[in-house]
Amino acid sequence: MRKFENLSYLPLRPKGSTFDRRIGPMDWVIFAILLFYAIIIIYPFYNALLISISPESVYLNTPFLLYPKEITWDNYATVFSSASLWSGVRVTLLLLFAGTAYQLFFTVITGYALSRNKWVGKNFVMNMILVTMFFGGGLIPYYYLIKNLGLYNQIWVMIIPGAIDTYNMLLMRNYFASLPPDLEESAKIDGANDIQIFFKVYLPMALPMLATIGLFFAVGNWNSWYNAMLFIENPSYKPLQLVLREMITTSSSSMETLGQKVVYSEGLTMASVFFSIVPMMMFYPFLQKFFVKGLVVGAIKG
């Protein structure tokens, strides 16, 4: 209690007032609007959950599900026993950890190098990287590049080409540039070389940025499917999102699937969707504080 005594100047509610008296009519209006938005955002997730745990008969007969009339875990059982989905999870986990580490490493060291003063060709390198934000070679040259580098149908095709993300590299560069140059000079006086300065002085100070960019990369890797769609033929190299995409598009298409068993595709799809989004949803809150801080710091300084 003692530490709050000094904060008595803050506009807290006056003694004796009630909670209701503090909230005016406009607050209720704002509250209602926010609640409405919250429902709009949350309902699709809730609906997906309901569909995933409802039997097909309930789903087909109830256009607008509000609560589970009947519960079945069959869809989750099917999902958890699906070899292709687990294979997708393995690939996605590899992308998540190896890909994120790889991208972080290259993006951070490039950002750091470009934030330092006085080296020949810095502007040239910077501009070369910047150009890629606005111009691309196009799909077919990229396809040739991947093929001739021997990356076609290799799991590395989803990792190696994404070494540096220009936007995130700029965030890192701006952040490093915003730190006082005295730090570097002091470290040099103390006998540190460039690598020591980077790892022991600057990198520890960039943790919020690392967490933010790491989260960007992790989410990107978790959700990635496009490169795999173009370059992966081997089913065991397909990431989770591509497996899901194929599952969803095939089940809702009018493709002839002669002789195949008819499945409750919506239930399976929603169970799969939950299976794929829950890990990321659980991960997000723990990094949120870094996320906001890092984003603001990188955006306004530099």
Binding site: L60, V120, M229, L258, G259, K261, V262
Partner: protein, 521 residues
């Protein structure tokens, strides 16, 4: 020192960049055949039947699949990137014929079939039986195999794009007609009755079209299925601007206004309309009633209504036969093939021969039995009268007594040449009741066609397969834009004048002028 490192780094980067554009050429492993196909799904070639074929033909088969949503892009990027598998499947129709198939052939991306196919009699027979096969030849050569729907031929030239309806509702409200045959007036009365009795109160719809099929009622008025129609003077015109089409469109718009088309077709997603019908909220549903779709529809309705009797299910999934205002049935025309199988130009003569050998075998009687049932005396036995019995060892059943599907490489590889409708009647995985209903409907429509009572909507072959620059470039887009304009007009987003302008704009005029000039020459 720093400068040297920088120069070396720059050179390394440039080397990497240029290395990417250096042509390495595809690896051509003679012993392995790589095949990519839409219908392979999650089959990976790891089964006894594939092993049998590999041993028989002395090859290793490596398979991969296209995904339905990305099929065109996967094919286009692979072929433009010079990286197609030895054998691959592409969706070729008259609208992309010129700017894909012809282009690939002329560019040397795909390999022509041997001119003499007598060494592969089954394949030869299949190719010769395909309609419009001459149109698929480029400079006299065939550069792929049209994937035939039925190797035995006899496929109707009309599609099963038609109405399935709630016969039970029709009976309940006294508007049912015997044998599900309805005149145009009776059809309209039925829709109005469904609307009055069911749709005014609650989440029900009298008529719903599958997303790509809207507005189905125009089919009973229009003269051609897609973009191009021929007017009274023999001139090619925009089908969407003809008087018959506009009459149908006026009716469709009135159906929307009067809530007969009560369902929001404008913004619905693929599969939504089906779910409405499965859920028992639609009276009449326009859909592609192919065997797999119709079988799915019946299965879903059974699932939604547990303990449904067979008769009740039949009443809920009856196929309607509707005569248009001219007193005739009307159905869209169709090819007897879907998509084509191509061969990479990089494969050797020897490899080509092996692939054709495998295809020919799979189309033979022995290969067909392998694809349908598996190994004789293990998966099935044949008695003295030729009757086939499946064995317990070869074919497991689920708790409902239905055979469990299994990976059979022969069946999947057969998709390189045919969709396998010839096997449907005896395939253990076929839903026989659905098959029987559809077969009866097809037979009925064939009889009507023979009697001159069926109008089949076909594009004139001379226009359909005509290859001119603007048509090749714009036909697909014209079709897409015109369908969007139809939807916008029906739902009141644009006026009739704007609609007419949209389906006769400068691009249309340019393409039509070019087609008419080409045909005149």
């Amino acid at each position: 020192m720093k400068k040297i490192v920088l120069i070396l780094l720059t050179l390394t980067l440039l080397f990497g960049l240029f290395a990417g554009f250096t042509a390495c050429g595809p690896k051509d492993d003679e012993g392995t055949i790589t095949i990519r196909n839409l219908y392979f799904n999650d089959w990976n070639g790891d089964d006894a039947y594939t092993a049998f074929l590999e041993e028989k033909f002395g090859v290793k088969i490596k398979t991969s699949t296209y995904s339905w949503a990305d099929w065109d892009q996967q094919v286009a990027s692979a072929i433009n990137g010079g990286n197609v598998t030895d054998v691959f499947q592409a969706d070729i129709d008259s609208y992309n014929f010129a700017n894909s198939y012809r282009f690939w052939a002329e560019d040397g991306d795909i390999r022509a079939l041997p001119s003499d196919l007598s060494a592969w009699p089954n394949l030869k027979k299949l190719i010769e039986s395909v309609n419009d096969i001459e149109k698929l030849k480029i400079n006299g050569k065939l550069y792929g195999i049209p994937v035939a729907k039925n190797i035995k031929g006899g496929e109707p030239d009309f599609t099963p794009f038609t109405y399935v309806y709630r016969r039970d509702w029709a009976k309940q409200y006294g508007v049912y007609k015997e044998n599900d045959i309805y005149t145009w007036e009776e059809f309209n009365t039925l829709l109005q009755t469904f609307y009055n009795k069911k749709c005014k109160s609650g989440d029900f719809y009298a008529l719903v079209d599958v997303e790509w099929g809207f507005p189905s009622v125009v089919n009973f008025y229009k003269d051609a299925p897609h973009c191009f129609a021929i007017d009274g003077s023999g001139k090619v015109v925009s089908n969407y601007g003809t008087d018959p089409y506009l009459s149908g469109l006026t009716l469709a718009k009135s159906f929307v206004s009067n809530k007969i088309y009560g369902y929001e077709q404008y913004s619905s997603n693929e599969g939504d309309a089906n779910k409405k019908y499965y859920g028992g909220r639609v009276g009449v549903f326009y859909e592609n009633l192919s065997l797999s779709n119709y079988s799915t529809l019946r299965t879903k309705i059974q699932e939604a209504n547990r303990n449904l009797s067979q008769d009740a299910l039949d009443d809920m999934t009856a196929i309607m036969k509707v005569k248009g205002p001219d007193g005739k049935f009307a159905l869209e025309g169709q090819e007897d093939w879907f998509s084509m199988t191509f061969f990479s130009s990089h494969i050797s003569d020897e490899k080509m021969k092996k692939i054709l050998d495998i295809m020919d075998y799979l189309l033979s009687e022995e290969g067909t039995m392998l694809a349908a049932y598996g190994f004789e005396d293990y998966d099935y036995t044949v008695d003295a009268l030729g009757n086939v019995s499946l064995t317990e060892a070869g074919w497991e059943k689920d708790s409902t007594g239905r055979y469990i599907d299994k990976y059979n490489g022969a069946k999947y590889l057969r998709y390189m040449c045919t969709l396998g409708y010839d096997m449907t009647s005896y395939d253990p995985m076929t839903d026989q009741k659905s098959y029987e209903i559809l077969a009866n409907w097809t037979e009925f429509m064939k009889e009507q066609q023979a009697a001159g009572n069926l109008r089949v909507l076909n594009e004139d072959p001379a226009v359909k397969w005509l290859n001119t620059a603007n048509k090749a470039r714009s036909a697909g887009k014209l079709l897409e834009d015109a369908n969007a304009a139809v939807m916008q007009y029906c739902y009141g987003s644009i006026t009739l004048d704007k609609y007419k302008a949209a389906v006769n704009d400068s691009t249309w005029q340019k393409v039509l002028k070019e087609i008419n000039e080409a045909l005149a020459n």
